[in-house]
Symmetry: C2
């Protein structure tokens, strides 16, 4: 028997029927939301406790068996695939809210808990978890990829909203990082090291996350512009004035067309900003009033406000469905979502350069962006049976990444590296790459923790 | 010649007169702001470039010579002392603002730049650097200790405000971490790992930091309360309501007495909150109005507003001088500032427990706190010639730290570990301690980077 088979056999002794090697099951976990090949694991384990996760990891460490943590599988960079086989650890049975400490604005949750479920459970408290990547991802997966999304401009990313972790390390030992204090200067910031580590340093088994009070007032609205550039310049102006926007999203013409078709809406086919303001009644009026002035200055308008909660929900649902909406415009094709983030002064140029590339290479791409953070995505589509088609998308994605680096940006604002962006890591990090590799080696000397992701370890 | 002497000889070959071994000089760098013994280095080097820092570190690595980075020397936990001798690297000649990117709300600065100097240089831009630990510390030192202070409740700590770093590692190699993008999911968060690492993993030689737009309106004010508990409960209420306070400081009776004497003021000798609100004219009125209602609810008042900038400056100068003001009440004695941070629901109890300890053990202590973050300090004083006096202060500090941990808090909110709190690290971090030790060993196998700080490495 090979090492993986031996590991599975030993895990079965401990977990009994909470591990499956059926082809149908493994195939499900070998799928992905985007353009990567099918890469199934050899088995899928369903631990229900930290102790069980630790047992699995100890066995895999003994047998040098790859471990792939799994939340919901919404990654766009192949994080949850099994390129070297091994055991996928599906954490969906560890999906409880363990404690809500309303007075301290925090909750302790398990990693398999989905984001929407968390907010449902918080409903009665008047609090909410602010990070919103669109997809109904698991909180553990969001932490592992340092996810963010539409509200990061106001509330920060997972980096800012994870206070403490329980982590199972590569030898199966269990540690706790961080505390319930809002800030600390006590030692190395291990919490921030595990956030964004994509399962390559350890498996997150518990998270302490910060919550926010639901704002007294919410105003949402959309506004069209004659060009992407004008829309972005309005955003830059608002950021520099310090307007505390809760959401500020750019949706280009192609995305508007997709959203209109998918969500049965009829926005004019022009670049739009989708916005939301949170605060007191007076605060929201003040913010949105200033924003209207800025928008007018940049030739945008008219402003269409959604003041009723149900209309706001509809507006953001339409935005969140943009990826799937755009996909339906291209039946049978596979999608790719790029994800760069640049200093905001470079944003208009980064987007228009991308638009020029799309035109030049005759590729249809939809651009949406968390523009308040300088972060945007291009959704592109390719025929799964035509490798050249995918290569063309790849080329455009690569050019975006390179241009982002040239202006001091990053190759990924929120999707992570996974398998898709390893090739750009050295370009972004230079000599710091060897430090990352050493770090990985010191945490996971056998390279069993999500191998083949984020870094190439020889 | 011993290893340190050999290192100094080699450094002199490269830096010529930019290294001093004079006893008078070394004695200055062996001093500290608080109760630690005199621990001078064997030499002090004054590099002017990253290349020179790298050269020094390479030589020290060759000779196993301890390296102690030095900013301004305002640490309260002995970070800049030389318990094992070696070479102190004074970074004060690397004190330039290298670039201000106003549109992107960021600046690139050298580590020896002092905080007040930075804000002077920013004056014409309409921007400011928000982190304010009180002392006129160096930006590099602030990053190294993960400093924060009065404004962290609104603008975050150094953790949130450092975007990118240049660091000289223990072998003298130079790396860059982070980028100018507001967020990134590209690999391990090395920036956050070096922030707060107290010079034990590398020497920070350049920082990219985030700036904020100066608010359109600022309102500051003070308000007395009948008890610390009432004041803290008012703060908890304000935090839960989401009032975006820019500063919210608790000053107890003893501190008020000291401030009155030192700054020639006449506040009533009662616990006070010192507050500041930033925003638009309307926003500030809205926030401060809500705050007045809360304060009334908790029996506080009257509110004394300082609306003129010069009065606001005077108010915060008085607050910032609290440490020195309290010290002058105890001529000839040495001060100790404790620093714990707890979940905010535990704050009132943490402070009143501390007050009970002070009474019970008959120690005079002044309590001040960044109460919006759950962070507070007790300033205590001891006769430098009476070891029992210092032990008594230590005991009270230790009891504060232990109680903070019991309620999910941390042993230091912002001062760091240095030499003073190593003994509590294992209690806070448990099994994660061995991970921190491994991390330190993998970054600095010879233990030459600020040895004897933060961790005990055998």
């Amino acid at each position: 028997m090979n090492n993986i088979t031996l590991a599975i056999k030993d895990i079965r002794k401990v977990l009994e029927d909470k591990i499956s090697t059926s082809k149908a099951t493994c195939d499900v976990y070998g799928e992905n939301e985007t353009y990567f090949d099918h890469m199934p694991p050899d088995a899928v384990a369903y631990p229900e406790t930290t102790v069980e996760v630790s047992q699995i990891v100890k066995i895999c460490a003994k047998h040098d068996c790859p471990i792939i943590p799994w939340g919901v599988g919404t990654s766009l960079e192949g994080h949850s695939l099994a390129p070297r086989g091994g055991v996928t650890i599906d954490l969906s049975r560890m999906n409880q809210v363990l404690e809500i400490k309303s007075e301290d604005l925090l909750a302790i949750v398990q990693p398999g808990l989905a984001r929407e479920k968390l907010n449902e459970e918080l409903r009665a408290t008047g609090l909410f978890f602010p990070v919103d990547p669109g997809a109904n991802a698991s909180i553990g997966g969001m932490a592992a990829t340092r996810a963010s999304g539409t509200t990061a401009v106001r509330y920060g990313t997972m980096r800012e909203n994870v206070l403490a972790l329980e982590v199972v390390l590569a030898d199966g030992s269990v540690i706790r990082t961080g505390s319930q204090a809002k800030k600390s200067s006590a030692g190395y910031d291990l919490t921030k090291l595990f956030v964004g580590s994509e399962g390559t340093l350890g498996i997150i088994t518990e998270l302490t996350i910060s919550l926010k009070g639901k704002p007294e007032a919410v105003a949402a609205g959309v506004c069209e512009f004659t060009s992407v550039k004008a829309a972005v310049n309005a955003v830059i102006s608002a950021i520099q004035l310090g307007i505390p926007m809760a959401r500020i999203e750019l949706i280009d013409e192609v995305s508007i067309r997709a959203i209109n078709a998918y969500s049965k809406l009829n926005y004019p086919e022009k670049p739009h900003l989708f916005m939301e303001f949170h605060g007191s009644d007076i605060g929201v009026k003040d913010q949105s009033g200033t924003m209207e002035e800025i928008i007018e200055e940049f030739g945008g308008g008219p402003f269409r406000w959604s003041m009723r909660p149900e209309d706001q929900t509809k507006l953001w649902a339409a935005r969140h469905q943009a990826y799937y909406a755009t996909k339906t415009l291209f039946p049978g094709k596979q999608g790719m979502s790029t994800d760069v983030c640049v200093p905001i002064s470079e944003l208009a140029k980064a987007i228009t350069d991308t638009q020029h590339d799309l035109e030049k290479f005759n590729v249809i791409g939809a651009i949406i962006g968390h523009v308040g953070d300088g972060n945007f995505h291009t959704l592109m589509f390719s025929d799964p049976n035509d490798p050249e088609d995918l290569e063309l998308n790849q080329m455009i994605a690569d050019r975006m990444a390179k241009r982002a680096l040239e202006v001091g940006g990053t190759i990924t604002g929120e999707h992570g590296i996974g398998m898709g962006k390893i090739k750009h890591m050295a370009r972004e990090h230079g000599d710091a790459m060897s430090l990352m590799v050493n770090l990985k080696r010191s945490f996971d000397p056998k390279n069993i923790m999500n191998p083949g992701k984020m870094l190439n370890i020889n």
